[in-house]
């Protein structure tokens, strides 16, 4: 287990990088604590696999240094860094049995056979693979194979960190849940540093203690799932996390209201003060869960036109049109909704201001 420090990491796949857009990783500066469960969340192409490969040593970054427990490992290859990596598809030694697959890393390090035996059985037990130890690895199902891939990492007792690159991609949907739970169990049991790369927010939010959201080569926010949901630092975090994503309305400030195309939305004093100081294009952001819907006018509510209602079972998605912008509200199942006109209220607790895509805060 190790603490991993990334110092001023930047990486470009282009030989002579010119402008910013040539960089797959723009500036990554972060510490990953020993024993933490982290998720690297972001859309395809945001650079998360690149970052993972920088951490594991499969890629040497164009700029910056990588430290494990204070030791500079930037120039060390993966095998010297003592990490384990689980890939998108199961990577196994097909000709070997499950036992031999798990034993392979230890045999390469010339560990004593007794110790190998013990270690392999321990790990097989944790992963529920004990009944398959004698079988050929090639014949098993995809989820068992991924467990074996994971097992090869766990079997080394001094493994620094385990890195996962979208490991559930080829797993059947019904088995994904089981495997996710197993990963969480293993983390709790063994307290290993685990970094999990995914584009699926559900996977990230259920697995990790800390989620790092990446967008276009940068870490836009790091925080607990709760923090990301309630206090998105960046417009992208608001949009990407939550289902459906955050609503955004371009606005201007005047008096003590935010004006969206002639419609005034009252803000509280604190938000107003912060907003006055902010520079750049302003947007009002509110999560669908926070948007309040009424059938008739109440204090502080603004009129909107009803567009659609989708029943999702335990909740409803209510789509309205406000001054030319589409908003979505997430309402509980039993709530009754108006048919043609609705009144929306923006509670201060849920209403955020964004300037040039970044959260305005005090």
């Amino acid at each position: 287990m190790a603490r991993i420090d990334l110092q001023e990491i930047a990486h470009s796949y282009v030989a002579q990088p010119g402008e910013e857009s040539d960089y797959a990783l723009k500036r990554i500066h972060n510490t990953w604590d020993d024993g933490g469960a982290y998720a690297l969340l972001g859309p395809s192409g945001c650079g998360k696999t690149t970052l993972l490969n920088v951490i594991s040593g499969l890629l040497t970054p164009s700029k910056g240094r990588v430290f494990y427990d204070g030791q500079d490992v930037t120039d060390l290859p993966p095998e010297k860094r003592n990490i384990a990596q689980v890939f998108q598809f199961p990577v196994l030694y097909d000709t070997m049995s499950v036992f031999d697959n798990l034993a392979f890393p230890l045999r390469n390090r010339r560990v004593a056979p007794d110790e190998i035996n013990q270690r392999v059985r321990e790990v097989a037990d944790i992963l529920d693979l004990t009944p398959y130890l004698k079988k050929k690895a090639a014949g098993l199902a995809a989820d068992a194979k991924q467990k074996i891939s994971l097992g090869r990492g766990l079997v080394r007792s001094d493994v620094a960190a385990i890195l996962f690159d979208e490991p559930l991609t080829v797993i059947d949907p019904q088995l994904k849940w089981d495997l996710r739970r197993k990963l969480k169990e293993i983390h709790e049991q063994l307290q290993l540093t685990m970094i999990y790369v995914t584009h699926d927010q559900v996977e990230a939010l259920t697995f990790a203690d800390q989620v790092l959201v990446m967008y276009e080569g940068e870490l836009v926010q790091i925080g607990t799932p709760q923090e990301l949901f309630e206090n998105p630092q960046h417009k992208f975090v608001g949009y990407f996390i939550g289902s459906p994503g955050m609503n955004f309305l371009p606005c201007t400030l005047d008096g003590n209201m935010a004006w969206v195309d002639g419609v005034g939305i009252p803000l509280d004093d604190k938000m107003m003060a912060m907003g006055q100081k902010a520079r750049g294009r302003l947007e009002l952001g509110i999560r669908p869960m926070g948007l309040e819907v009424y059938a008739e006018a109440v204090v502080g509510a603004v009129p909107a036109r009803v567009k659609a209602l989708e029943d999702q079972g335990s909740f409803k998605i209510f789509t309205v049109q406000l001054a030319g912008h589409t908003l979505r509200a997430r309402l509980p199942e039993e709530k009754s909704v108006p048919q043609t006109d609705a009144w929306l209220r923006f509670p201060p607790r849920w209403t955020k201001l964004f300037a040039d895509g970044r959260l305005v805060s005090g």
Binding site: L58, E79, V91
Partner: protein
């Protein structure tokens, strides 16, 4: 993973079946037909059953040719397969070297087989050939037209020169088809270069190597033009392989019967051994029957 069970997959196979069956079944029937008849003239045929087969199988010259053939094919496989794999492993993965290597490897394969024979006749002649001149210059009296050993050496050189690139190209394509993640995982697991070869590369090349082995076995067992042009089957009979002998029989006879019987036996031998190779290769390493 299990294959999906679906008999409608036959539609995907139908075009291939039609094309090949069209070409194969009619000749096969013709050959079988001839092999069991004695033809005296147009319209005068007598059914003779297995007589031609017995005659052909009893021929001691056939046995000799058969042993020579097995020796030849055996040597071919023993040399070309490992050598081809070694070359594929040594070839570059990126850059201009890739194209240069591929084109160079392909050259011997593209030469018509009779021309190959001719090239090597010339190449090994002491008066006009580089190889012949060099060897003679070293003091070795080399003459593939007079000494059986020299003839065999020349034949093997020619054969290895000509066909190893086939194995190398197949092996190279097979190697390139291995996802990078396997090499990465092997590095992370601390595997040596030999372990990487044995546990990742070789198993993943099984498909292409099966094809390479079967192809080289079949084609070398059927070989005709190159040795015929180079040595004509001589000196004496020392390089008379099976198909050269078959042609001698066919040309020498007035009847198509023995040649047809011989062809069928020839075919069955290759079929048997190919099938044995195939079964062996399918089961290597998996421990499960495919």
């Amino acid at each position: 993973m299990e294959k999906w069970e679906n008999n409608r997959a036959w539609f995907l196979v139908l075009p291939v079946f039609v094309v090949v069956a069209f070409s194969a079944i009619i000749p096969l029937m013709t050959v079988v037909n001839y092999s069991v008849q004695d033809i005296f003239g147009p319209g005068q045929r007598v059914f003779v059953g297995a007589e031609w087969f017995k005659e052909v199988l009893a021929d001691y010259r056939l046995h000799d040719a058969l042993w020579r053939q097995f020796l030849f094919s055996g040597l071919v496989l023993l040399i070309e397969i490992p050598l081809g794999i070694l070359i594929a492993l040594a070839m570059p993965k990126r850059g201009w070297g890739v194209s240069a290597s591929l084109v160079t490897l392909a050259l011997p394969l593209l030469i018509p087989w009779n021309v190959i024979g001719t090239i090597w006749i010339v190449f090994t002649r002491p008066d006009i050939g580089l190889f012949g001149a060099v060897v003679n210059g070293l003091g070795i009296a080399f003459d593939h037209t007079a000494r059986p050993l020299d003839a065999w050496v020349t034949l093997m050189l020619m054969e290895v020169w000509h066909w190893t690139p086939l194995v190398a190209l197949l092996a190279y394509a097979g190697l390139r088809a291995i996802p990078e993640a396997y090499y990465q995982a092997a590095k992370i697991d601390g595997a040596s270069a030999w372990a990487t070869f044995r546990y990742i590369q070789l198993p993943k090349m099984r498909g292409v190597l099966t094809i390479a082995i079967l192809l080289r076995f079949m084609d070398s067992f059927l070989i005709y033009a190159e040795p015929f042009v180079l040595t004509g089957g001589g000196p004496g009979n020392s390089t008379t392989f099976l198909s050269i002998y078959l042609v001698k029989v066919a040309v020498g006879q007035f009847d198509l019967g023995p040649a047809a019987a011989f062809s069928l036996i020839y075919f069955l031998i290759i079929l048997l051994f190919s099938w044995l190779f195939y079964q062996a290769l399918q089961n290597v390493g998996t421990g499960e029957k495919r």
